[in-house]
């Protein structure tokens, strides 16, 4: 047993986190910043933070992840990191020449109270920021929230680049939240099909799912451009996909530039996608093409075709709030029973929302925000499930408890596909369903006694 020391009996813990279901803010800020075209994320702290975040993102994407660091030593920690930051800005523009440096803080620079806006001002006044180049920043203390909060904070900093010219651009801002590059690509495909002009930010497609061609581009083709980010202030509206990752930036755009926003769930699964498409229709004043209805019908078709294998199956879920809310709704809509749900990210709203979504399921649901995977494992030991959905760390639970398991979330360190195949939208719903059915039916085939082993399922 890999997690042999995990007892079935649950005791209350107030101080010890075991097998976390979250990580810290800066990595989220780094991921979001990679969705700006020509941007170098910069970690203002000691160099280990940057090394760890780059390693984690690299392992997840199998792609280069460039980011720089202020490389604090003991001296900088005592006297403040301003000198390191100024030197870094100068070196970065000289050696790498990005269009944007997106700085995020760390627990180190936050604890000593470095003031990034003031440092930026000083860099600008000393001529360290070349003409036409930008430095943006987000405060991302690791001791508050989670990686999701850090993502949201950097997206807010991106929205901070918005300008209003007074002339509307006819576009809709879409803030997709923490989804894979493939998902962002899929959002763009859907909006193009519908005929809505959009500004998607951040957009990591083309950045973290690039080709191998014998050339290395430190700043790949993808990413939301600075011009687009500036233009978000002139858009006719914003759709924020997910309360945790995207809503704050959307509300800022509303407040600062009078761009009205609506906050939706992330479009994973049938119903959340329905609402997303319908919102696009309303905000852009377009009618939805038949192709979209066709894709929707295919998803409904597969649910009905395979419903017998889904009905009543108990599921344990772990991941981030926005994703889990959509996934829970999707599972419930297929008459499955998500009974254990954990996120490491804090927020009582999450528990409330999950309880609402599962209230008609007719069984007890364990849900916890700011929980961990040790607790999830204990819940599973007390009430076993038929399916486990979560990031790669779940494989230790899946193997110990022998549970069919679908990898979905961050990080995925041991399988491929998340970079290239979306799980958003109706097409993405088909892929999710295919993955779920795949593991459930593999299990059925594995466990069926010979007389019951069947060719047609």
């Amino acid at each position: 047993m890999l997690l042999r020391h995990t007892p079935t009996e649950i005791t209350e813990r107030t101080a010890l986190t075991i097998n976390p279901a979250k990580t810290c803010q800066p990595i989220g800020a780094m991921y979001a910043a990679l969705g700006i075209h020509g941007c170098l994320p910069h970690s203002h702290g000691s160099q280990g933070c940057c090394a760890y975040h780059r390693s984690a993102l690299t392992r997840h994407y199998k792609e280069p992840v460039s980011a720089s660091t202020s490389s604090f030593t003991e001296g900088a920690s005592v006297f403040g990191g301003q000198a390191n930051m100024l030197q870094a800005i100068n070196n970065i523009f000289t050696v790498y020449n990005p269009e944007v440096i997106a700085i995020h803080t760390t627990c180190l620079s936050e604890t000593i109270g470095d003031d990034l806006p003031q440092i930026k001002k000083k860099a600008a006044s000393e001529g360290k920021i070349p003409e036409g180049r930008y430095v943006i920043s987000a405060s991302t203390p690791s001791y508050a929230g989670s990686h999701v909060t850090g993502f949201s904070n950097m997206v807010k900093a991106m929205a901070g680049m918005a300008e209003s010219t007074g002339k509307k651009n006819g576009k809709v801002n879409i803030i997709p939240g923490w989804m894979e590059p493939a998902d962002m690509e899929e959002i763009k495909r859907i909006t193009k099909m519908i005929g809505v002009k959009t500004i998607l930010f951040p957009d990591t497609s083309g950045v973290l799912n690039g080709p191998l061609s014998g050339e290395y581009k430190m700043f790949p083709e993808g990413g939301t451009t600075v011009a687009e980010l500036k233009s978000t202030g002139d858009s006719k509206g914003t759709l924020a996909l997910g309360e945790w990752c995207s809503a704050d930036a959307a509300r800022d755009l509303d407040k600062q530039h009078k761009v009205p926003c609506s906050v939706l769930d992330m479009p994973f699964g049938l119903m959340a996608t329905d609402r997303f498409i319908d919102a696009l229709r309303t905000i852009a004043g377009v009618s939805i093409p038949e192709e979209i209805a066709h894709e929707r019908g295919q998803l409904v078709d597969m649910i009905s075709d395979m419903h017998q294998y889904l009905y009543g199956k108990k599921v344990a879920l772990v991941g981030d709030p926005d994703q889990l809310i959509a996934m829970t709704e999707f599972l419930v809509s297929m008459d499955m029973k998500p009974i254990h749900i954990v996120t490491g990210t804090p927020g009582k709203k999450f528990e409330k929302r999950i309880k609402e979504l599962t209230k008609d399921m007719g069984c007890k649901v364990n849900v916890k925000a700011q929980g961990d995977m040790f607790l999830l494992h204990q819940w599973i030991k007390n009430e076993p499930v038929d399916l486990l959905i979560g990031n790669t760390y779940c494989k230790y639970i899946a193997r110990d408890e022998d549970i069919p398991y679908v990898r979905w979330g961050f990080p995925i360190l041991d399988r491929q596909g998340h970079q290239y195949f979306p799980t958003v939208g109706y097409k993405g719903g088909l892929r999710l369903l295919e993955k779920i059915l795949g593991v459930l039916l593999d299990r059925k085939d594995r466990d069926a006694p010979e007389p019951k082993f069947e060719l047609v399922l």
Partner: protein, 546 residues
């Protein structure tokens, strides 16, 4: 035209490559980096020529990590029956959770916490009001849940800044429990200039709190400790197999697949064999002073190096039975190695490699490339010191800077009751007279060809430039560097965690490595970079479909 230009670049000499690496930098950066790039003369000077173990330049994309990574991630990470509790915000513990491919075998006692990740997950109020209470509560909860032999506490950046006294908290909890050794590491990420400081801090605390805790004499002959072996990809398992075959008893490994008791009993061994000089030489020195255990440098990366290291261990004990048995084992193991080489070297001979990794690995792995008849044209360390490059004879002349002085040096004295010279002065002298070298390490430069480039703390920009200028066949570094190199169409092998696969140590490991390098440098995929229409972009006459 393009081909002619490329040809010219290949012919660039080391001095030209060096100046090409520096030309884009701001003057201050260029001056600093120039001192960290050396055209090798392999002179074995008393005064170090290359600058190393100095601060990373802010904004320059470095390969380096932090002190915490060196302490918790590298040294203490591979121990299986100690609960490694990270005191800090969640990230540091999360990122060090199972990401280094340290293999472990839970053994008959079954204790194994390596698959777990423990953290106090400090929140804003802990930063403001202090985290000591939360730490004490977390230690208590870990004790109540698991009843481990030992709990190790690791500090992350904010802990040092807010002044949490993790040592006193640990001491109090240890006293409270009575049957669980609790101790702490002040390994805040900002200390020192790289992971290296974390190794030193780990060495100090392991020596202070673990080594010497169990005087019980273990059975077996020819007792050694293997220091600086982390069982990445199962390296330690292969070395253990060879030791067992030779009849050598390994009391403890620091720290691959290690247990609390191994550390606690390590002072009962009669020889310390040091693999990774950079990460662990401190403990070897301290054990020599306190317990009288001599140390030698060994290397089990490379079949010839493995044979050489085994002979060195046998020669130390000096008994014919052991010497003969070691020779027999080498004779048994080598035919398979030679057969593999005979098959593979025709496909690898003359190819070129670069290695920028670790604080000893770039040196160790050169052995394997030599065996494959590949040429290492440039190498360097991520966090090595000057003695790792130019040999321990430079030690007296290394000038300690403020960053190094910040790392505690333990004052060690001979133990009143347990200091026991393993060999008499006369025996030691006789061995030395016969050419046996204790506490000796020549460093990387001595083994590199003259005129090759030795580069300390290589960064992403220089790596890309080197690949562009020197047209090599394989590049070795870590995960962060992997894909930017591969995008250029050059295979990249991780030598920190090996990507996948291993072991690469010992005889079987060498064979695995030959096969792996053969796979990488001869993979068909590197020929698929361009599509047919990109190779021949001219439009031909219209195609007539029949």
């Amino acid at each position: 035209m393009a081909t002619a230009a490329k040809k010219k670049l290949v012919q660039w000499g080391p001095a030209e490559v060096k100046s090409a690496l520096l030309e884009k930098y701001p003057p201050k950066v260029a001056r600093k980096r120039a001192k960290q790039i050396m055209i090798n003369e392999a002179q074995q000077n008393e005064t170090p020529e290359l600058t190393a173990n100095v601060r990373t330049i802010p904004g320059i994309i470095t390969m380096r990590g932090c002190t915490y990574a060196g302490c918790k991630g590298v040294i203490m990470g591979p121990t299986r029956d100690i609960v490694n509790l990270v005191h800090g915000p969640i990230g540091c513990s999360f990122y060090a959770w199972l990401t280094r491919r340290n293999q472990t075998d839970a053994g008959p006692d079954g204790e194994n916490y390596m698959n777990y990740c423990f953290s106090t997950d400090m929140q804003e109020q802990d930063i403001i009001f202090g985290g000591e209470k939360k730490l004490a509560a977390a230690i208590q909860e870990a004790y109540d849940l698991f009843h481990p032999k030992s709990i190790a506490v690791f500090a992350t950046c904010p802990v040092g800044l807010i002044g949490d006294d993790i040592h006193t908290v640990s001491k109090n909890m240890k006293e409270k429990f009575g049957d669980c050794n609790v101790y702490a590491f002040s390994c805040e990420g900002y200390k020192g200039v790289s992971q290296s400081a974390g190794h030193h801090i780990a060495n100090n605390q392991v020596f202070r709190h673990l080594v010497g805790q169990n005087d019980e004499v273990k059975p077996g002959k020819y007792k050694i400790n293997l220091l600086g072996e982390y069982n990445i990809g199962g390296d330690g398992f292969e070395i253990d197999r060879i030791f067992q075959k030779c009849g050598i008893t390994c009391i403890s490994t620091f720290s691959g697949n290690s247990t609390y008791d191994q550390f606690a009993s390590s002072h009962t061994a009669d020889l310390n064999a040091v693999m990774c000089h950079r990460s662990i030489n401190y403990v070897a020195d301290m054990m020599e002073t306190k317990y009288g255990i001599p140390w030698i440098k060994v290397n089990f990366i490379g079949a010839k190096a493995t044979a050489k290291s085994l002979r060195k261990i046998a020669e130390y004990f000096g008994e014919k039975a052991l010497i003969d048995r070691v020779e027999k084992v080498i004779a048994e193991e080598m035919p398979e190695v030679e057969a593999a080489l005979a098959e593979i070297t025709p496909r690898t001979e003359g190819k070129t490699a670069m290695m920028f990794v670790g604080g000893s690995r770039a040196h160790h792995y050169k052995e394997l490339f030599d065996e494959l008849k590949m040429k290492t044209i440039s190498a360097g360390y991520e966090f090595g010191h000057q003695d790792d490059y130019e040999g321990r004879q430079v030690l007296p002349n290394i000038q300690l800077d403020a960053d190094s002085r910040n790392i505690e040096e333990l004052e060690v004295e001979p133990d009143k009751t347990r200091f026991k010279p393993r060999k008499s002065d006369k025996e030691m002298k006789a061995l030395e007279k016969a050419g046996y070298k204790f506490k000796h390490y020549d460093g990387l430069a001595a083994d590199m060809d003259k005129g090759t480039l030795i580069i300390d703390d290589l960064n992403q920009y220089e790596a890309e430039k080197l690949v562009e200028l020197m047209k090599l066949d394989i590049f070795c570094a870590g995960i962060k560097e992997k894909y930017s190199i591969q995008k250029l169409g050059v295979p990249m092998k991780q030598l920190h965690s090996y990507d996948s696969g291993g072991p690469y140590a010992g005889f079987q490991g060498a064979i695995n490595f030959y096969k792996e390098i053969d796979r990488l440098v001869n993979s068909k995929v590197w020929g698929f970079m361009k599509a047919p229409w990109q190779k021949n972009p001219e439009l031909s006459a219209s195609y007539v479909w029949e």
